[in-house]
């Protein structure tokens, strides 16, 4: 029996020297020494050391496709919860409909769910999203499963292998938002199975051999 765990590091753990390595995301430098900022996994690539947090909040990047929930309806904009530290602004200019001033609630109301894209943050430094794209739209039906945003890459898997496996064994439609929200549609028992699989991924994302264990879980009745 071997313990198979990826390289877990703690905040303030020494990772290396700036003379030999470059400091990537998730690290900080003090006196030419590179340290980890968060509890996470150490990666070294192209001579750069970085730490990806095991847990944490979603950090938006321009271009990310996210699943958001409308939390405030203004007269010419909406505020959308995207599971980040701050809500994102959706302006009437960024939706595919022609919305009259004050008529916003008719198109998107409190609690409505949208598939949106992160815009580059402008001068206001506010998070902004857009629905202006044929692939973006209001979402109806199905169910939303929340997962730690840091685990999303694992849910997708290498070249989409994990999510393909989830789809195959449950016959569900699945869409993964970068912000830790997964939309699923299908048989309720299948959805329960997906949720179980997601929780397992959350708990063991930092281990090897996870794919096999997920496979086993999906196969059992």
């Amino acid at each position: 029996m071997k313990k198979e765990v990826r390289d877990v590091v703690l905040p303030s753990q020494l990772l290396g020297d700036t003379k030999k390595l470059k400091a990537g995301p998730g690290t900080f430098v003090e006196n030419n020494k590179i340290y980890a900022e968060t509890l996470g996994i150490r990666h070294i690539r192209d001579n750069t050391v970085s730490v990806s947090p095991l847990k944490g909040f979603y950090q938006p990047h321009a271009g990310d496709i996210v699943i958001g929930v409308v939390e405030e309806v203004g007269t010419s904009m909406w505020l959308v919860d995207i599971n980040a530290i701050y809500p994102a602004l959706l302006h009437v200019n960024e939706v595919p409909w022609h919305v009259e001033f004050g008529d916003t609630a008719r198109y998107l109301n409190y609690g409505d769910v949208v598939l949106a894209k992160m815009l580059p943050s402008g001068e206001s430094d506010r998070l902004q999203i857009t629905l202006k794209d044929r692939t973006l739209h209001k979402i109806n039906g199905g169910m939303i499963i929340e997962v730690e945003p840091t685990k999303i890459p694992r849910v997708i898997g290498k070249k989409g292998s994990m999510i393909a496996m989830l789809k195959k064994y449950t016959n569900c439609r699945i869409f993964v938002g970068k912000n830790g929200r997964i939309w699923v549609e299908g048989d309720p028992n299948a959805i329960l199975k997906i949720e179980k699989a997601i929780r397992l991924i959350e708990r063991e994302a930092h281990t090897y051999g996870l794919t096999d264990r997920i496979n086993a879980l999906l196969r059992e009745q």
């Binding site: 609690g111 979402i139 109806n140 309720p188």
Partner: protein
Amino acid sequence: MNSTLISSIKKDYLNKLAEQKKRIDGRAFDEYRKISIETNIVRKAEGSARVKIGNTQVLAGVKMDVGEPYSDSPESGVLTTSAELIPMASPDFEAGPPREDAIELARVVDRGIRESEVIDLDKLCIEPGEKVWIVFVDIHVLDYDGNLFDASSLAALAALSTAMVPAERFEMGKDYPLPIKEPPISCTFVKFNKAIVVDPCLDEETIAEARLTVATDEEGNIRAMQKGLSGSFTLDEVKKVIKASIDNGARIRKILEDAVGRDHGKKN
């Protein structure tokens, strides 16, 4: 990071499942989540218990003191129940004095104990009109994932069932177990989309139209009731809830008896 904001999708899904007699976590309508009860957790308290129902976690502590009785009941001990929805239990709980949710919770748990005479307050008289035992029950909600009523009342009962009267500290002889009678068990139901389910999880509580808590004793009699939220129940629905409370109550009473019997006297 936002919490009580429930998406329309989740709400529709819960409602759709209800039509198919299903629940979001796969439970049956009359099924509780896993219940665990641990007693004698806090050494400093005269009695304590931690109850978990699913992910909901509540810690109850019993403290006792000697004081004056109320003027209208000079030979009875005094019972006082309070509840705190501390900020760690949910991103939506704020620090500050108890607001109406905490107060309602405390009063419902209190009535469940007081009106059913779980504690025989008349046995807590030391000197009539002068000195009686005061029993403080403090409910500390640690983790909120739905159904605080049942978790809190169970924690309070378990803490009382294993509490010791601190006679030694007041130089009144040896410590002895607080005299407790058979407690009533409370069961909470919520209604949404015409479905009535027991032991609501957080999502179910968030979309609930109405809530009903019924406490029953070991003989199947009703000891306390509380309806909450701004929806309604038909009389027929209320009767069904009473029957389900009696059934579930018997099951939970067994869990409580096992926990209390097993842990009684053990001090951490």
